[in-house]
Symmetry: C2
Subunit: 265 residues, 2 copies
Amino acid sequence: MGRTLTYPKRSSNTVNRYNHRATYDLGAIHSIINSSQVLHVSFSPGPEDPFPAIIPMIGQMGSFEYPSADIDEPLECYLHGYVSSRIMNLARGSQEGLPICIAASKVDGLILSLTPNSHSYNYRSAILHGYAHLVTDEAEKLWAMELVTNSVLQDRWKHSRVPPDRAEMSSTVILKVKVVDGSGKIRDGGVSDEKKDYANEEVTNRVWTGVVPVYETFGAPIPSAQNKVAEVPDYITDFVENKNDENRTYAKEAAQVTLPKEEQH
Amino acid sequence: MGRTLTYPKRSSNTVNRYNHRATYDLGAIHSIINSSQVLHVSFSPGPEDPFPAIIPMIGQMGSFEYPSADIDEPLECYLHGYVSSRIMNLARGSQEGLPICIAASKVDGLILSLTPNSHSYNYRSAILHGYAHLVTDEAEKLWAMELVTNSVLQDRWKHSRVPPDRAEMSSTVILKVKVVDGSGKIRDGGVSDEKKDYANEEVTNRVWTGVVPVYETFGAPIPSAQNKVAEVPDYITDFVENKNDENRTYAKEAAQVTLPKEEQH
């Protein structure tokens, strides 16, 4: 009870700027990754290409060995996405795994302060570094496919046509990332300006300051032309309602959090 | 008139999967970048670190030399963000600029089809490869600061306390990225399933299929405790209203686009 696991600080994942906002807690970092619909995954294509590559992928933290592990325990990241053959071939051809970086960022609000320099976002962001391997065990692959499908929409897996057939299993590629380190940053709170600007009446009488909350919304489900199920099932309408509520509430509450002392002027 | 500029296809930016959804048009790619509140920027920290780095940054396409250039003309990407000293030092120390990859992705809808394998997102994503340099010219830096501030909220720059003073100018760092290539992918439309599943009545009678639109929402502006402007100004309420309308409309319309022939079964 009360144990908080943290990732080790290395030069590559240590946050220098506004470090009171940094977190190395597994729980906080994994939660940001798991609540992101898209992850950005970066890898080096090889010595002939000077540019790192980034691809958008769907992913989720989990543990196949300990499926009941909590979000704040050591977990792997399972990725399933628009997997170019490049990343697959690189991961397949690598003994110790392909070194990758996984990033997730969410904007929760626009911080509109007196001067452009003190403008900011409320946001949550996280990165993980780790080694990516192709999942070859069929049971683990099936488990990861369910994990990832349910991350798109809770309980969708069991409400769709499963299990995948042999062709579907072999066309699906899942990457398992053994995480080496990670870090997160969370900014919440309101406007922070300099004393000199607060003291300038011409400015304070003219410039509106405050927060515009920003959040992701799920719209009313639109049935396909082929759909034969008369009503939208509860697990879908509940998901839409709960997520909308959760997202809107987070963004509004984040705007009203008290700023850390060093930013109050 | 009618000219469409495209980025060159190189191995590093050529889209192989579902390539009818790929675009190399400057206009389409730049628009995705410019409408993203956060960009993910990747670079290699150096030979001693096996992992690429990703940092979230705010950025915008523009041309200081030709400020009236349209979105589909050659543009640079100006970045301003939570700039760790690492990326700044690397860019500062590099003669030909730091090779980076810039990515932007937006989810526009959940595609809920009969089987997990045919699930998808409606989305827009883009990447750019280029060389990043520190902007040293003061006039260009000021111009880029205005460009980036107004990308957060239209017209905010002139409604805040400007110009920045000497200390603000020197503490602000802007990266200018000379773009070498880029690509984008846009998925819209509805559900696409395999014939064998459409023909399975047990499945079609049980599995709801359709699209859940997804879009970013801006909430009602919350004034700060220090704010002295009685009413939320029109340029802010208009921005919130217009963006919400635009985002919701895009996601709904994307769900109703006709799929390309090869995906209709």
